[in-house]
């Protein structure tokens, strides 16, 4: 049920629906897309980026909000923590209890290492839990890792590190097999054939799913396995700084109890950063589809210790986040809605683009409609355009929505909007961190020994844009690999004396560069209290 102020525009949408269904909107030319992106895609807005003045990526630009965190003060000073009496000692310390961290923990444990996970919220309170769509793997006879490679390389604007991408695609089928053996319930036909579909940018149907709870099914199974192995999970405990040893190798982390603020020291032979994405940084003021703890902490931890970032300037904005009602602002409206026939319609009832352009182009086009063209609908919380869902029922027949996208129906029905009868309002939402820490195929950072990274905190696997289904895949492939590599490296490691000198050094760099800031990092959690304006 939309209130009075939407009715005029709604009437225009309804009046034009039959005509709009019949309409075959033109695809944009390469040049049109280029111009559109340059003018409206958030990644191209020069004034929203800042050049880093210090650190390993000095001279490169990153989003302003990230620059502030990367060049902020530590939450502690180098001499305020006693490193001589660690609260925890382990072989492999894993920071982050999402899909990547849990996979790493299982494999490191399997390899015989002592492992522990520290995580900011609970294990599984993570982006992994929220993935609906699915996970890619080239396991059908008409497909191959090579075809998968080409799809992903092109989709990522030809910028992926090839040695990482080839590992991703070649280890994919085994990743699916591993998950199956852990008990993940993939959608299958009666004879065991995987039910697979297309995702944006795939040339073969290789999207495996577990209904529309793919990520949740994977995450809860991994969590169960971690617990079965009695791997210690220290929850509500964030890493706020890496600890190094005198040889310059990663050797643990300073932890903070999120509830009591108590500081703790974890000493380890090897460290894995698996802290996930950055949606809650709300770059450029965008809403987000991400979980509460997605604040780019891992990038900050690594950067302060001297690890390099790759492609940190590229973010993925999903074109269709919910713009209304306010309660679900930013939540993901799956791409499937458009594949099933719903078109994007502006305030006047006009279809303004082909609904199946790539994610970045679609997002830019929606932004143009809502800004310069003035054709957006005022939602009371910004602007949005209509996604005309009733078209789906007209095209596919009554019942299509309940059969194919029941979760979407439920999400809006809670707020009195029946998407079978009424369109929904959407606006791009901050969805995925394409860039992150730079690693080699064994998951070690390129320049700090014994510091490993896996999952959304890694940069370079996908290049500058990630295809749907390749992220759930990367957290398994690289999560497992990081666990194995870290366990192996731990065997040959004797930790030298612990130090936090890098914090002091970084403080000096801040001063020398003339950066004046009161910010501290990592951010840990966004603040949505009223005093802070929601």
């Amino acid at each position: 049920m939309y209130s009075e102020k939407f009715q005029k525009s709604l009437a225009a949408v309804e009046a034009a629906r039959e005509k709009n269904i019949a309409l075959e909107p033109e695809r944009m030319t390469a040049k049109q897309k280029e111009d559109l992106l340059a003018a409206y895609h958030p990644d191209y807005k020069a004034d929203q980026f800042e050049v880093l003045k210090i650190g390993p990526n000095k001279g490169e630009k990153v989003p302003t909000e990230l620059a502030e965190m990367l060049q902020a003060h530590s939450r502690i000073s180098a001499d305020s923590v006693d490193l001589s009496n660690p609260d925890y000692e382990t072989d492999v310390l894993i920071i982050g209890g999402g899909g990547a961290g849990s996979s790493a923990a299982i494999e490191a444990h399997e390899a015989g290492a002592d492992v522990m996970i520290v995580t900011k919220l609970r294990i599984g309170d993570a982006n992994t839990m929220m993935a609906e769509g699915g996970i890619q793997a080239a396991d059908k006879p008409n497909d191959s890792p090579a075809i998968h490679f080409v799809d992903a390389f092109g989709g990522g604007h030809f910028a992926a590190k090839r040695e990482l991408l080839s590992k991703l695609v070649c280890d994919a089928p085994e990743a699916i097999q591993w998950l199956s053996n852990l008990g993940v319930e993939f959608d299958k036909d009666a004879d065991g054939t995987m039910i697979t579909t297309h995702g944006g940018g795939t040339s073969r149907k290789r999207m495996h799913a577990a209904k529309d709870y793919s990520g949740a099914e994977i995450m809860r199974t991994l969590r169960d396995e971690v617990l079965n192995r009695n791997i210690p999970v220290i929850d509500f405990t964030a890493a706020i700084e890496l600890i190094m040893d005198e040889n310059g190798n990663a050797a643990g982390a300073v932890l903070m109890n999120m509830e009591t603020k108590e500081l703790l020291v974890a000493k380890a032979k090897t460290v894995i950063i698996a802290t996930g994405g950055a949606g809650r940084m709300h770059y450029q003021g965008f809403p987000t589809s991400n979980h509460y703890g997605a604040t780019a902490d891992g990038l900050v931890l690594g950067y302060r210790a001297g690890a390099k970032l790759l492609y940190a300037e590229t973010l993925q904005y999903h074109p269709t986040g919910a713009a209304f009602p306010e309660q679900i602002f930013g939540a993901l409206v799956t791409e499937k809605v458009r594949s099933l026939g719903a078109k994007l319609v502006n305030k006047n009832g006009e279809v303004f683009m082909h609904p199946l352009e790539t994610r970045d182009v679609t997002a830019a086009s929606v932004i143009r409609e809502c800004s310069d063209r003035g054709n957006g609908i005022d939602t009371g919380n910004g602007f949005g355009v209509w996604l005309d869902t009733p078209m789906i029922e007209k095209i596919g027949g009554e019942g299509t929505i309940m059969k194919r996208i029941p979760a979407m129906w439920r999400m809006f029905d809670k707020y009195g909007i029946d998407i079978r009868k009424e369109p929904i309002l959407i606006y791009p939402t901050l969805h995925y961190q394409n860039g992150g820490l730079d690693i080699t195929p064994d998951c070690m950072t390129t320049n700090i020994k014994n510091l490993f990274v896996a999952g959304e905190a890694v940069g370079g696997i996908h290049g500058k844009n990630r295809l749907m289904g390749n992220s759930l895949l990367d957290i398994i492939v690289f999560g497992r690999s990081a666990g194995k590599s870290a366990a192996k490296a731990a065997k040959d490691t004797t930790v030298g004396e612990l130090t936090l000198k890098h914090i002091e050094k970084f403080e000096n760099e801040i001063k020398e560069a003339g950066i004046e800031t009161s910010a501290v990092s990592p951010k840990l959690l966004p603040n949505y209290t009223k005093q802070n304006n929601i």
């Binding site: 890792p145 396995e225 999120m258």
Partner: protein, 224 residues
């Protein structure tokens, strides 16, 4: 001006805009959440909450991130509930009825009160999936419990002390690993890769100049 409603957080009264969820209303009231907030979108089960509307008898349960505030709502969050999770080795476990008897014998003490089903934040037929588990019908238990977010609300209402979501988790894993049909094309592909069948193709892609890869990408054939 926004319409305001009165809510009671742990008994204390706050006036908040009526269009907020319980979660955002708590933040509006000034709580900086740490516990009880995970995905913020109905997937993780971190935000289990119980409430009663003043004057009504029924105690309701919900997910705070998925539920709008109402006037005179008395709210208490349930950010942690002590569930029992047994540990087991998936490699050696046998998919038989006896497993449930060994690991979660309390399910056989179910009194059929249906309190779990009434409380489920996902609208699942919880009592039914427990009944399937009792019978060792793991497939049905898995199917019926699939949308469970493991929030633990059902368990908080159960007189028999059953940890429903953990029972269901075990059933789903057994079903996924042992009862679902195997997958030949997957096994084959894993073997082919191990045998190096794709090494040459991949190696060629690693060496190709970007221009050639662009050509390959732009002219690739797309499965209908």
């Amino acid at each position: 001006m926004e319409n305001m409603v009165n809510i009671f957080l742990f008994g204390k009264k706050y006036s908040v805009p009526e269009n907020l969820t319980i979660m955002t209303a708590m933040e509006y009231a000034g709580y900086q959440l740490v516990r009880g907030c995970g995905c913020r979108n109905g997937f993780c089960g971190a935000c289990a909450t119980i409430y009663r509307i003043k004057g009504e008898r029924e105690l309701k349960a919900c997910l705070a991130c998925q539920t709008k505030v109402e006037d005179n709502m008395y709210i208490a969050t349930l950010p942690f509930f002590p569930l029992v999770k047994q540990v087991y080795d998936m490699e050696t476990i046998k998919p038989t009825e006896a497993v449930m008897m060994q690991l979660y014998p309390e399910i056989y003490a179910c009194v059929g009160c249906n309190a779990c089903t009434k409380a489920c934040t996902q609208g699942l037929n919880v009592m039914q999936y427990i009944a399937y588990a009792q019978r060792g019908d793991f497939e049905k238990c898995a199917e019926e419990s699939f949308d469970c977010v493991m929030c633990g609300v059902c368990s908080s209402r159960c007189p028999a002390g059953i940890s429903h979501p953990q029972v269901a988790m075990l059933a789903r894993r057994i079903n996924g690993k042992y009862l679902a049909p195997g997958c030949d094309h997957l096994e084959n592909r894993v073997k082919e890769i191990k045998d190096g069948s794709f090494n040459e193709l991949i190696e060629a892609l690693m060496q190709k100049p970007v221009e050639e890869l662009k050509e390959l990408y732009n002219t690739r054939e797309i499965e209908k």
